[in-house]
Amino acid sequence: MNTNDSKGIWKVIGASSAGTLIEWYDFYIFGSLATVIASQFFPKTNPTAALLSTLATFAAGFIVRPFGALVFGRLGDIIGRKYTFLLTLIIMGGSTFAIGLVPGYETIGFAAPIIVLLLRLLQGLALGGEYGGAATYVAEHSPENKRGFYTSWIQTTATLGLFVSLGVILITRHSLDTDAAKSIAKFNDWGWRIPFLVSIILVIVSIYIRMKMKESPLFAKLKTEGKTSVNPLKESFAHKTNLKMVLLALFGATMGQGVVWYTGQFYAQSFIENVCKVDFDQSRTILIWSILFATPFFVVFGGLSDKIGRKWIMLVGMLLAIFTYIPLFGNLLSTTDIKTKTEITEKKQIDSSITTIAKTNDALKKTVIKTFYTDGMQMTETRTDTLFAQAGKKEAKPDIKISKLISDADYWYMVLLVFVMVLYVTMVYGPIAAFLVELFPTKIRYTSMSLPYHIGNGVFGGLTPFIATLLTTIYTDNKLVGLNYPIIVAAICLVIGTLYISNRIDKNVND
């Protein structure tokens, strides 16, 4: 590859990655701010609003993404990669910006949750169309011996998008006032809109960069020769020879890759915050550090896949996840378990306050208990009881919230544990774009690779935090039971991948 070609490919990677990163950023901020958004748009006191909230969470992430893959995949194979992933970027950026502008439920009533739901659906659709386009675009510009290496840069964007979204949220949350508590209150009130509004600047820059890019040379050649597909959906899924490869890609690769990804980067954070009860900021910064340290390995494993093939790197990642998830999550749990700590009894603080509930004779009793431990951990238990004025009225169940500020040693140990999980993510995810691109012919590549990718990641992966959490509510005596879902899915995928997938690197993706 000469210097001009080399410069060209980095421009292609830069333009594709920047846009994809922004799309992931846009998609994640909604999830990361779910609690704040729910209080603004989906008040729990109203059952219909709560219903819309559930739909917004589920529909956008899991149902709509594969549809986005079909809609935009088809477009990408008919009109071209460049214009399609430009369109997905505009839809994603526009809907994210608009979410930041929608007035709350208190101002416009039911219109608010309905508008937010529709915008969230658009986000899901756009995301479903983006990845296949970006991966195909980069792969079709890459030389055969570096396809894994170059496409792995696209793979970093999903993780970096999460990293940037967590960073922007934390910075905004702490910079709205000099007083930390006031700053958080302002953030929950109106400051949450800033990360949504900021995205429009990033999107405009990215659109400008992408506008200047040329169409993929392989697709342009097909178009000139009049050989593009007339009906990519039919050719992808109605022809047995291609359908069997789509099914193999899903059950032998993306299904396992999806659960390993979502367990390492999403369920891990949810587990640290909700099961281990680690403080809001600490649980997020643990993930930020882990991602920061692990991200270079996407490129390492992508590059390695050019030398030894894609198959075994992905399957070893799944194998390690299957055998080490229980001890890794078990260690997260035991590190924060107060039974393993020694309390400093003389430092214990208990504060109580009673406030009357407006327009009633009832009151709320708030008790804050701060417990300190010899290793430096501090646990805050906030208990809120309702005190009824009317004699004999049934006492409501107290609301108990626990938050643990862990010591530095425990903090960095948890960073290490999550880093290992994200390392598995880099193994399964780094080579996947090159693997998928090589599996399908140019004229139906966008459509064919997008669907298994988004079913594997959107459905199998996206449902991981929900199903895992759900399992813990069904089998309450085992806090690690939620891991059975990713372990079983990854194990099935590992066996199918081992038996049926080839480790051959396809030298020619021009066909």
Binding site: M245, P441, L499, Y500, N508
Partner: protein, 81 residues
């Protein structure tokens, strides 16, 4: 190796209906236990989303049984015929 692939095809073919059966039984049990709209939506979404995937798994198992994966295409010409 090809005979193992074909035999394993039977497992994939059966895994899909067995998985769906357990999913539906669990869904009915959970909805009965907590009959609120959130539970109904959650489990309905799981069933609606996983049903076509289960059909896909059955097709995959069927193809494997028939030996469709004994030889994987080495060129796109073999796919676009």
């Amino acid at each position: 190796m090809n005979s193992i692939k074909k035999f394993a095809g039977i497992i994939w073919f059966l895994l899909a209906p067995v998985g769906m059966y357990f999913l539906i039984i669990t869904a009915l049990h959970e909805i009965e236990k907590t009959p609120v709209i959130d539970t109904k939506i959650q489990w309905s979404v799981f069933i609606i989303v996983f049903a076509p995937i289960a059909i896909g798994m059955m097709i995959f198992g069927y193809y494997a049984m028939k030996g469709e994966y004994d030889h994987l295409p080495t060129s796109s010409d073999e796919i676009t015929d």
